[in-house]
């Protein structure tokens, strides 16, 4: 069954790493819904959030294939983990004197901010879940959405972060993988992605 999977990958901050990941997805025919990249608090480590439409088997193979990339440090499929996921959208909407109050009211309900306003249009910023942004866009559509940009999802698990082992090869090789990683399915299907 196809499902939206959210992966967090921590990778070495080196030239070409994003290309390796993009190339992997292209070559294996995995379809990326969104991909965001940025630095982390750890020096030399970048972080990706990948959103992918995939069935459970494919999700496991994506994880395994990401791990085959030498520069990939840690991969977490947070789909079934308590997580926080956010996306930022800028939406430019036609708004004249008559429609503006209505639009501002909608923004208020969604917790969106107006960041630019002219006689004919408003530009709205919303940081929320992917679905909530979809909802806002749906409500604004009749007003005339002129332009929109979305960052794609960034995600973080709740609670303490999973540490990246800084150990050398020898130690990594000697530490057995947690039970279940070599057997599908690895993830529990009971927890859900928490949408706040």
């Amino acid at each position: 069954m196809m499902k939206t999977h959210t992966f967090i990958a921590r990778v070495e901050d080196k030239p070409g790493v994003l290309n390796r990941i993009a190339s992997l997805f292209r070559r294996r025919g995995f379809n990326i819904a969104s991909l965001t990249v940025g630095r982390t608090a750890e020096p030399g480590v970048s972080r990706l959030t990948l959103v992918i439409e995939a069935d459970e088997d494919t999700a496991r193979r994506i994880e395994a294939n990401l791990y085959k990339l030498v520069n990939v440090l840690l991969v977490e499929d947070v789909t079934y983990q308590p997580s926080i996921a956010r996306e930022l959208a800028l939406i430019k909407v036609r708004a004249d004197a008559t429609t503006r109050p209505r639009i501002l009211q909608v923004c208020d309900v969604f917790g969106a901010r107006v960041i630019d306003l002219t006689a004919e249009l408003v530009t709205i910023e919303l940081t929320a879940t992917h679905d909530k942004i979809d909802d806002l866009v749906g409500v604004l559509a009749p007003e005339g959405v002129l332009e929109m940009v979305r960052t794609g999802v960034v995600a973080m698990t709740r609670g303490a972060p999973t540490p990246i082992s800084n150990s050398s090869f020898r130690e990594i090789n000697e530490v057995p993988e947690p039970q279940g990683t070599s057997q599908w399915p690895a993830s529990s299907t009971t927890a859900t992605l928490i949408s706040v």
Binding site: N71, S168, F169, N173
Partner: protein
Amino acid sequence: MSEARRLTGAEILWEALVAEGVEVVFGYPGGAIMPAYDAMLKYADRIRHVLVRHEQGAAHMADGYARASGKVGVALATSGPGATNLVTGIATAMMDSVPVVFITGQVASTLLGSDAFQETDVTGVTLPITKHNYLVTSVDEIASTVREAFFLARSGRPGPVLVDICKDAQQATGTWRAPTGAPTLPGYRPSYHAPEDLLARAADLIDRAERPVVLAGHGIVKAGAGDLLRKFVEKAHIPVAATLLGLGGFPATHPLGLGMMGMHGEAWVNHAIQEADLLIALGMRFDDRVTGRLATYAPSARKIHVEIDRSEVGKNVKVDVALVDDVGRVLEALTPRVAARSRAPWLAHINKIKGDSAVRDIQGLPDEGRLYAAHVIHDLWRLTEGRALIVTDVGQHQMWEAQYYKHDYPRKLVTSGGLGTMGFALPAAIGARFACPGEEIWVIAGDGGFQMTASELSTAAQEGVKVNVAIINNGYLGMVRQWQQFFYGGRYAATPMRSPDFVKLAEAHGLTAMRVTRRDEVVSTVRAAQATPGTVVIDFRVEQEDSVYPMVPSGADLAEMIRRPHPPSALVETAEDP
């Protein structure tokens, strides 16, 4: 900490190769790699360089060296066309998980991205066909990068690694210090350990199986796990089918050895797999040439998959238990856990279908003077006592080799399985010669594939190496012709091929050559080749329109095999081995 020395980047490269134990490098010089070639002269007493005639040859030689020895092969080329000529060889090594380090020169780092003369984005080009690759722009990165490249190439699931080194990095001066310890690669996980509960579950499935089959792949050979496999199956009495690249991992003449599975596998092997209630896949990846139609593959079998690369698990075939680990380690853990059982009814049943559906045995056939490829390969097997290192090209002769040359020893068959690279055999055999100086080496190639890299005859002559070359010459691109016969209405589009006089061609290189057109000439000619110093080429003029049987059509059920329709008078189907 060893003593630090100031050296050029090019010298550091050679020091690093010496430190990795490299004995031989196959390569071709050019502008961007000239500093490395100049420095090479100082290392000529420690590393031999083999000058190839085309960089593809260098790639296949390094590959053949690696497959025959189990060590890391090294190929060297210049930037641009030199590097792109390696590409087929890199992809070949990637598909068959062969540890090869490719070193390419690159334009100066100051010129990168400017479309400079002979500039190609080689790390970009080879990204999907290498295990990993590097662009080195500074002299300070050369030593550590070479160290990492060798480590990556040989560890875990092996594979090719490319190191692209800018010319100015080769020319600059830096510090060389002999490396100690393993490189630090925090994201690299070469292998995993299968957890106890899964090992127990696998052992339980094995104990409860009435009709198990082991599918032995390349991983058995790579892991050197042949003896462990033998102990395991001899205890549990499980028959062993091999993939093409798994041949030799388990002795072909062992009573539990079934032979090759898949598209041109023996009929009884494919029937046994389809009837099995348990498949134990060891170091293989359920390639489409092995499974046939996935929907009907081994329909009543539970499946245990032992594989070092966890991304292979569940890729093509859904399995009941996946053990992601080194296959040798798993066999060591499983053997004491499984029950000693005889499984006599299952083995008797396989023997029965073997009798019903055997491919032909050509021993002692009436000799009508006609020459079949099967004759040639069978005679080669007898005359070399099954001990030669055989390097094949790709096509019909490759499948006949797999069927008729009974491999009892590992690393004695070098063949391009995954990529199916024509032109592989001659250069790979030259490379293998440097890995196994004392062994008898035979190239078995078709007339088509041989011509793709025939220029490497010149390399063999210059280097004074001996390989025996058997050209199975049928005047066609035989495997494609066979498909045209079976599936394209017999329309032979671009498969009839006129070849040069191979005897004269070899002689033009200063090599010995012979021609065989009748079966009664095979033995004496092979013996003559064995006795002749230097490379010998034999042009075997075989039946032109013979086909490889049995054949599972692409995408068909594994049991739906095309069988030899009317055994020609010189070929009788029997089951008994001599």
